[in-house]
């Protein structure tokens, strides 16, 4: 099976899985005893008021109609309306909460893999020594700690006793990076901004198109130039569309990741603040995940270090550190990559608890928050989003793995 048919097969396999997942969530939310609408009135509501609410939320439709509307909505990226007053769009809510979770997830994966590789390699090179045992025990214990307990301990030590890091939230008041609006807030800055940023965007898309062309062996002149110019303008149009869109939505950031937005603002003070707020939550989550990576790195390294080519490299008289990090680790990296994909689900679970511990305004907190409001439609939306996210990440990792290691597609 070549890579392309592997990808096709993998994607095809994902469709029934996602479909099942959607149906499961739809069912879970609807097996609630009692009428969810009843829960959303301050006083005992009149029949008309409840009927009106059902109409607004399309809950007056028969179940199968609701189901198809729900699927159709999902295709448009529409997760329905919240049951809270105002009936906000749930997609909008999730869209605004997701960057916080993404930022937390990215940094904690970085920390987890960093700790995992460092300690895992240490353990494997000092196999069966005291150091090895200590690291192994650490890996096991850290896995058994309730992540919010770990978070609270870090919070207690580093932000309450030592006061080195803030205890919760995403950033100080007035410190939110302004992203695009920073430029737009200046008179006539909008166009300038769109043009300034469209150049790097355009150049990158051009470069990608050139590389792609080279692979396909199309001559640069004249067809190649034409295609790359097309790509360039397409990139620019897409960018400009998003930029304008964001501008009119107001208040949105470029990426929503404060660490990146603050750098795009060119504001290092905000960047440092963003990192300070991010540090404890991502350390908590990263530590929790690191156990798995330590174990994985260690066992893989142990295997790799026995292989012939490592022995050969040693025999050639290479320095031990470059044997370990340069040769062996590179070889052991593939399983770590797969594990990153597999751990993503666990990461999101941990993120819910970490976000609650540190009042981090991400998707996890959103879910917990909506639960106490009994906002069923929003719970459904958030759970689906989590599910699809994990499915997609696993898909990408699988494909990447297949691409890097041809042995697995057969």
């Amino acid at each position: 099976m070549d890579l392309r048919s592997y990808i096709v097969a993998r994607v095809l396999l994902m469709i029934p899985m996602i479909f099942l997942l959607l149906s499961i969530v739809f069912l879970i939310v609807r097996v609630v005893p009692g009428d969810p609408v009843l829960l959303h009135f301050e006083k005992k509501a009149s029949e008309e008021a409840m009927a009106e609410m059902r109409r607004e939320l399309r809950l007056d439709q028969p179940l199968h109609v609701q189901y198809f509307e729900y699927l159709a909505g999902l295709l448009r990226g529409d997760l329905g309306k919240s049951m809270a007053p105002g009936r906000d769009s749930i997609s909008q809510h999730i869209f605004s909460a997701f960057p916080a979770t993404l930022e937390l997830a990215l940094f904690s994966i970085l920390i987890a893999v960093g700790i995992g590789i460092l300690l895992g390699v240490r353990a494997s090179t000092s196999y069966n020594s005291v150091q090895d045992h200590v690291i192994r025990v650490f890996g096991t214990v850290i896995y058994a700690i309730p992540v919010f307990f770990l978070g609270m301990i870090l919070l207690l030590v580093f932000s309450i006793y030592l006061k080195w890091f803030p205890a919760g939230g995403r950033i100080k008041p007035l410190m939110e990076p302004e992203g695009l609006t920073f430029y737009f807030s200046k008179p006539a800055g909008g166009f300038v901004q769109v043009f300034t940023w469209s150049f790097p965007v355009g150049l990158i898309s051009w470069a990608i198109s050139l590389v792609a062309l080279k692979r396909k062996a199309i001559k640069f002149w004249p067809k190649g130039l034409l295609i790359s110019l097309l790509v360039l303008s397409a990139g620019w149009i897409v960018y400009a569309y998003f930029a304008w869109h964001l501008m009119f939505r107001g208040g949105l950031h470029i990426t929503g990741l404060y660490t990146i937005d603050s750098l795009l603002d060119g504001n290092v003070v905000k960047f440092v603040e963003a990192v300070r707020y991010l540090f404890l939550p991502s350390l908590t989550l990263g530590l929790m995940l690191s156990g798995v990576f330590i174990r994985l790195t260690r066992s893989n390294m142990l295997e790799t270090l026995r292989l012939d080519f490592v022995t050969a490299a040693r025999a050639r008289g290479l320095k031990e550190s470059s044997v370990v990090y340069g040769y062996a680790l590179r070889n052991a990296f593939l399983p770590i990559l797969t594990m990153m994909g597999l751990q993503f689900a666990m990461l999101l679970g941990g993120a819910i608890l970490t976000e609650t511990t540190f009042s981090w305004p991400g998707l996890g907190r959103y879910l917990v928050d909506r639960i106490s409001f009994r906002d069923y439609t929003a719970i459904q939306g958030a759970v689906i989003f989590f599910g699809i996210l994990v499915a997609v990440v696993n898909l990408v990792v699988d494909i990447l793995y297949a691409y890097l290691d041809p042995r697995i597609r057969f």
């Binding site: 997942l21 096991t140 058994a144 309730p146 689900a345 679970g349 819910i352 608890l353 989590f386």
Partner: protein, 296 residues
């Protein structure tokens, strides 16, 4: 007769006592330490009500101001309501342990038969059940558990059920992969050739060989179930205030953090950690002992 089969293969590896375990290297030690921790925790929880110096739910056993730090009368301090933390620690494991036990039981009841039947039957049934289980498996566990628990409401059984839903697929997958291997083994083939019925083959030849792996999965799942139960409690889906529970204490203790009341969270947290650690150790030890791998 099938029962006897199970006993032979299953207990034959288990019973010969601690002495042989100590000879099995780190895996043996892990099992011993782990089961030691687990047993003492369970014992403590069962006997706790007799030994605890105060009623764990009685308020103001310590005169205000509360929470007060560890002292002579209250070695682990008191919480906001003036309840003795030591008594709460001694009695507080029951919720976690019950939830974990029940959820593992539910998983067992659902996961194992479904896995056995599906994989033995093969064909369409197998494919469909694998697909269903895979879509559950791929789901972020805690998210699913939270969603289900939120829908079902509070209570030990509901918590256990919502956790079970998350972990059934692990049992299913384990059983299925084992059955697929065992099905092809000469000894099963031989049994079939001698005219044994499907039911007999399944119960007598396949099941006993699957049991060790199930035990390993179950022990590992105990740890996960405990952590998930703690997580559910933390997001407000646990049981109420009138049952002493480590998870509850840990959750409520968060409000007291800024005033530096470290003892309110530390002890319950350590207890949950120990319980989960005990099961993890047993699980890891057993998985090395019971699923023989090629030695390095």
């Amino acid at each position: 007769m099938p029962k006897l089969e199970i006993k032979r293969s299953f207990l034959a590896r288990f019973i010969p006592g601690l002495a042989s375990l100590t000879k099995r290297g780190s895996a043996g030690w892990m099992t011993i330490i782990g089961s030691g921790i687990v047993l003492s925790m369970v014992l403590m929880t069962v006997l706790g009500p007799w030994f605890s110096p105060y009623d764990p739910t009685a308020i103001n056993v310590s005169p205000p101001p509360n929470p007060s730090p560890p002292s002579g009368d209250f070695p682990l301090g008191t919480n906001l309501l003036g309840q003795d933390m030591l008594s709460r620690i001694l009695c507080g494991g029951s919720v976690m342990i019950q939830v974990a036990l029940l959820s593992v039981l539910f998983c067992f009841i659902i996961g194992v038969p479904v896995g056995l039947l599906a994989s033995y039957a093969g064909g369409m049934i197998d494919r469909i059940s694998t697909l269903v289980m895979d879509s559950f498996y791929a789901f972020p566990g805690l998210v699913l558990a939270i969603a289900i628990a939120a829908m079902m409401g509070r209570g030990v059984v509901n918590m256990a059920l919502s956790i079970a839903v998350v972990y059934v697929p692990s049992y299913f997958r384990m059983v299925r992969s084992q059955v697929l291997t065992i099905k092809e083994l000469p000894y099963t083939e031989a049994a079939r050739a001698t005219g044994a019925k499907g039911q007999t083959v399944l119960l007598r030849y396949i099941l006993p060989n699957v049991v060790p792996s199930i035990v390993v999965v179950a022990t590992v799942n105990f740890a996960d179930a405990i952590l998930t139960a703690a997580g559910l409690t933390f997001v407000g889906l646990g049981v109420g205030i009138d049952v002493p529970d480590w998870g509850w204490d840990l959750t409520q203790g968060r409000q007291l953090l800024p005033s530096g009341s470290w003892w309110v969270i530390t002890f319950p947290g350590i207890m949950i950690l120990l319980l989960a650690l005990g099961f993890t150790l047993v699980g890891e030890g057993l998985s090395e002992l019971l699923t023989p791998r090629l030695e390095r």
